[in-house]
C-alpha cells in the first residue's frame, strides 16, 4: 500500500568523484571531477517502489549508495523520517542502518564464500547485538523461510558455492530482512540471476513489500522490470533526473526525448509488435565534463537553440509527472 507519508526526501543531492588525472595537473591542482550525481531531488512515500532507471554510468547506483549513506555526498540533503541522515553521529547512524538496507547486484561477490548460509544471514543480528543463541537460530530459520529457502535446515549449513545465483540472491535478501528494515535500496537485484529465476525474485520482493510494509528504491536498467515492480519511476541521464512519474503512465507515454528513445529501443518479447526506434546520436558522453545546458542536447533529435545554453528544470507538467525539457515546458 502506497501511503501519503513521506519516508525519504532527497534534496539537491550531488556526488562528485575526483577523476584520475595526470601528474602535471595534479601538481597544478587541476583535479577534474566526475559528476556522478548532479542536483537530484525526489521523495519516496512509505509503501512505494520508486525505480531509478537509466543506462550504465547515469548515476543511479551512486544515488542509492549516497542516500543510505554508504558514500558521503558532495552536497545536498537526505531526510529519512524527517531526520537529516548526514547530520547523524555514529551511534544514531548505526540505528539508522537497522531501518535502511541495501540489496546488492552481484550475488556471487556479495556473499562471503567462507561463511555458511547460517552465518551470513545471522551476521547482521550479531553485528547489531540483537539476538544470540536459540533466538538467533530461530530468526535465521524464519529469515530463510521468508525468502522461500525451505526447509531452512537444508540451506543453513551449506556454503554459497553450493547454491544457484537465484538462491544466493535470496540469501542476500534474507540478510537484509532479518533486521526488519523499513526501507531497502535494491541495486539491480536480478540482473545477474538466471532468466528463469528472475521472475521468482521480483515476485518475492513484491510479496515481502506487502507483508512487511516496506519501501523500495529499485535500481535497474531494464525498463520492463521497472514497469513490473515500480509504482513510480525516475529516469536518469548523466547524473540528472530527466523525467519522473507513475511507472505505467511514464513508460506508456514518455515526454522527455531521452525516455522516448529508451522506450522505443527496449526489445519487446512479441514478434508481432514492430516499432520505429528513435536513435540518439553518438553515445553517452563522459560525466567529467558534462555538456552545457541540457545534458542530452548533443544527442537529442529535437534539439533547439536554447538547449545548449540553458539547463531545463524538472517541472511538473501533469499531476505527479515531472519532465526536464525545454520542449515540454
Amino acid at each position: 500500500m502506497v501511503t501519503n507519508d513521506i519516508l525519504l526526501k532527497v534534496e539537491n543531492l550531488r556526488k562528485y568523484f575526483p577523476a584520475r588525472t595526470g601528474f602535471v595537473s595534479s601538481i597544478l591542482g587541476r583535479t577534474e571531477w566526475v559528476h556522478a550525481v548532479d542536483d537530484v531531488s525526489f521523495e519516496t512515500k512509505r509503501g512505494e517502489v520508486l525505480c531509478l532507471v537509466g543506462e550504465s554510468g547515469c548515476g543511479k547506483t551512486t544515488t542509492a549508495r549516497v542516500l543510505i549513506r554508504l558514500d558521503e555526498p558532495t552536497d545536498g540533503k537526505v531526510y529519512f523520517e524527517g531526520e537529516d541522515i548526514f547530520a547523524l553521529d555514529r551511534k544514531r547512524l548505526k540505528n539508522l542502518r537497522l531501518k535502511m538496507q541495501m540489496i546488492f547486484q552481484d550475488p556471487y561477490t556479495s556473499t562471503n564464500p567462507r561463511m555458511t548460509i547460517f552465518d551470513a544471514v545471522a551476521e547482521p543480528l550479531v553485528v547489531h547485538k540483537l539476538a544470540s543463541g536459540k533466538e538467533l537460530a530461530e530468526k535465521v530459520a524464519q529469515g530463510l523461510e521468508s525468502v522461500e529457502l525451505t526447509p531452512p535446515e537444508a540451506f543453513m549449513y551449506r556454503y554459497p558455492h553450493e547454491l544457484s545465483g537465484g538462491q544466493r540472491q535470496r540469501v542476500g535478501i534474507a540478510r537484509v530482512l532479518i533486521l526488519e528494515p523499513e526501507f531497502i535500496a535494491a541495486d539491480e537485484p536480478v540482473s545477474m540471476v538466471d532468466v528463469s529465476l528472475r521472475a521468482g525474485i521480483l515476485n518475492l520482493l513484491l510479496d515481502l513489500k506487502d507483508k512487511y510494509n516496506l519501501t523500495y528504491i529499485f535500481i535497474t536498467h531494464n525498463l520492463a522490470q521497472a514497469k513490473y515492480i515500480g509504482n513510480r519511476i525516475a529516469v536518469m541521464y548523466l547524473g540528472k533526473i530527466v523525467e519522473m512519474g507513475q511507472a505505467a503512465a511514464t513508460l506508456g507515454e514518455p515526454l522527455h526525448p531521452y525516455t522516448k528513445a529508451l522506450v522505443s529501443n527496449v526489445p519487446i518479447p512479441d514478434p508481432d509488435i514492430v516499432r520505429e526506434r528513435i536513435h540518439l546520436k553518438g553515445e553517452i558522453p563522459t560525466p567529467i565534463n558534462p555538456p552545457s545546458g541540457c545534458r542530452l542536447h548533443p544527442r537529442c533529435p529535437y534539439v533547439i537553440e536554447k538547449c545548449s545554453t540553458e539547463e531545463p528544470k524538472l517541472v511538473e507538467v501533469e499531476k505527479g509527472h515531472f519532465v526536464a525539457c525545454h520542449l515540454v515546458e
Binding site: Q167, A224, S264, P271
Partner: protein, 326 residues
C-alpha cells in the same frame, strides 16, 4: 545450408564429463535469422563452438553430423577450415567486443590482417576494403586508424561486425551480440544486424539469453535447456503458441513493456548441473506437468507441425490444458 544432426559435445573435467550438448538437431537456411536461446550453461555457446570447431581443448564432439554445403564440419581438418570455411564462409562475432579486439593494434590493421590472409590482397587494397566495411556498419571511415580504446562500446561492437563481414561470409554467428550494450545502443546494433542481413542476404545465428532480442529480429527460434534443444520453430509460433513447458515457463517469466500488468510466473527450482543431469527429461524436476514417465524416459524431438519440433512426452495433453482443444 547448415544442418546439425544429433550433435553431442562433452567437456572432460576432473569431476567427470560435462554433458554440455546432448543430441541436438537443427537446420539453418540461406538468408535465415536463427535464434538460439536459453539460460547460462544450457549449452548454446558450446553448440556453436562445435559448429565452427573452436571448442576449448577439453571439449570434444562425441557424435553427430554438422553439414555445411558439402563439408562435414565435425570431421574436417583445421587446415581445411582455415582455407575454405573460417572468415570466407562462416564467421563469428564474440560476446565481449572489448576483449575480442587487440588493444595494441589499430582497428584497421586487425581487420586488414584477416583480409590479407584470406583474400590475397595487398595491404593498400585491404585498407580500402576496411573503409568500405566501416561505412557499411555505420562508423565514420576516417576513424579506421583508431585503437579499440578510442571506440565506445557500440562502435567496438560495430567494428566486430565489420570484421566478421571482411571476407564476405554467408553465415555469421553472433554470441550475445548486445548483452554488454546499453538499451539505445542495443537497439542500433539490432537494426544494423537486420539491415545487413537483408542487404547481403546473410544467414545469421544469434545466441542470447534475452528472448525479447530474439522476438525482435529472428525468423526461427530454438530453445535450449540443459544441453537439449527442447523446442524449435518459427519465432511467431514460439512466442504465440509455445508447446514445451520450459518455453512456456520462460516466456511467462519475461516482463514486457508493451503488455499490461500481470503477475509473472517464475520457473521453480534451478537449472541442473550438467555433470550429473537428471535422468529422463532434463526438465522434469522443474516441470509442473511431470509424471513418472518423464523421470525415466528421455523424450525425443518430434515434429508436431511443419518445422516445429518439441521434445516432450505430453505435448498433446499440455497443449489441451494450455490452449483448449483447438
Amino acid at each position: 545450408m547448415l544442418s546439425v544432426e544429433g550433435l553431442v559435445t562433452r567437456y572432460s573435467t576432473m569431476m567427470g564429463d560435462v554433458k554440455a550438448v546432448e543430441d541436438i538437431t537443427f537446420h539453418v537456411k540461406k538468408g535465415e535469422m536463427f535464434g538460439l536461446a536459453g539460460e547460462s550453461g544450457c549449452g548454446k555457446t558450446t553448440a556453436i563452438l562445435s559448429i565452427i570447431n573452436l571448442l576449448p581443448s577439453n571439449g570434444r564432439i562425441v557424435s553427430g553430423k554438422i553439414s555445411y554445403h558439402d563439408h562435414d564440419l565435425a570431421n574436417i581438418s583445421k587446415a581445411e577450415l582455415r582455407r575454405d570455411i573460417w572468415w570466407k564462409k562462416i564467421s563469428i562475432v564474440f560476446q565481449a567486443a572489448m576483449n575480442a579486439l587487440n588493444p595494441v593494434l589499430s582497428v584497421e590493421d586487425q581487420i586488414a590482417e584477416a583480409i590479407i590472409l584470406h583474400e590475397d590482397l595487398i595491404k593498400q587494397a585491404a585498407l580500402e576494403k576496411v573503409k568500405k566495411l566501416f561505412e557499411l556498419v555505420g562508423i565514420d571511415p576516417t576513424r579506421t586508424g583508431n585503437y579499440p580504446h578510442e571506440f565506445s562500446g557500440g562502435m567496438r561492437q560495430r567494428a566486430m561486425i565489420a570484421m566478421a563481414l571482411a571476407c564476405n561470409p554467408e553465415l555469421i554467428i553472433m554470441d550475445e551480440p548486445t548483452t554488454a550494450l546499453d538499451v539505445v545502443v542495443q537497439g542500433e546494433v539490432l537494426d544494423l544486424v537486420k539491415k545487413l542481413q537483408k542487404e547481403l542476404n546473410l544467414s545469421v545465428i544469434i545466441i542470447t539469453h534475452d528472448l525479447s532480442v530474439i522476438a525482435e529480429i529472428c525468423d526461427t527460434t530454438g530453445i535450449m535447456y540443459a544441453g537439449k534443444l527442447v523446442e524449435c520453430a518459427d519465432t511467431r509460433a514460439i512466442f504465440k503458441k509455445p508447446r514445451h513447458p520450459y518455453t512456456q515457463g520462460l516466456i511467462g517469466a519475461f516482463p514486457s513493456l508493451s503488455s499490461s500488468w500481470r503477475r509473472l510466473e517464475g520457473i521453480p527450482g534451478s537449472p541442473p548441473d550438467l555433470l550429473n543431469p537428471p535422468p529422463g527429461c532434463k526438465f522434469h524436476p522443474r516441470c509442473p506437468y511431470a509424471q513418472e514417465r518423464c523421470r525415466e524416459e528421455e523424450p525425443i524431438s518430434i515434429e508436431i507441425e511443419k518445422d516445429h519440433t518439441v521434445a516432450c512426452h505430453f505435448i498433446d495433453e499440455i497443449g489441451k490444458a494450455v490452449y483448449g482443444s483447438q
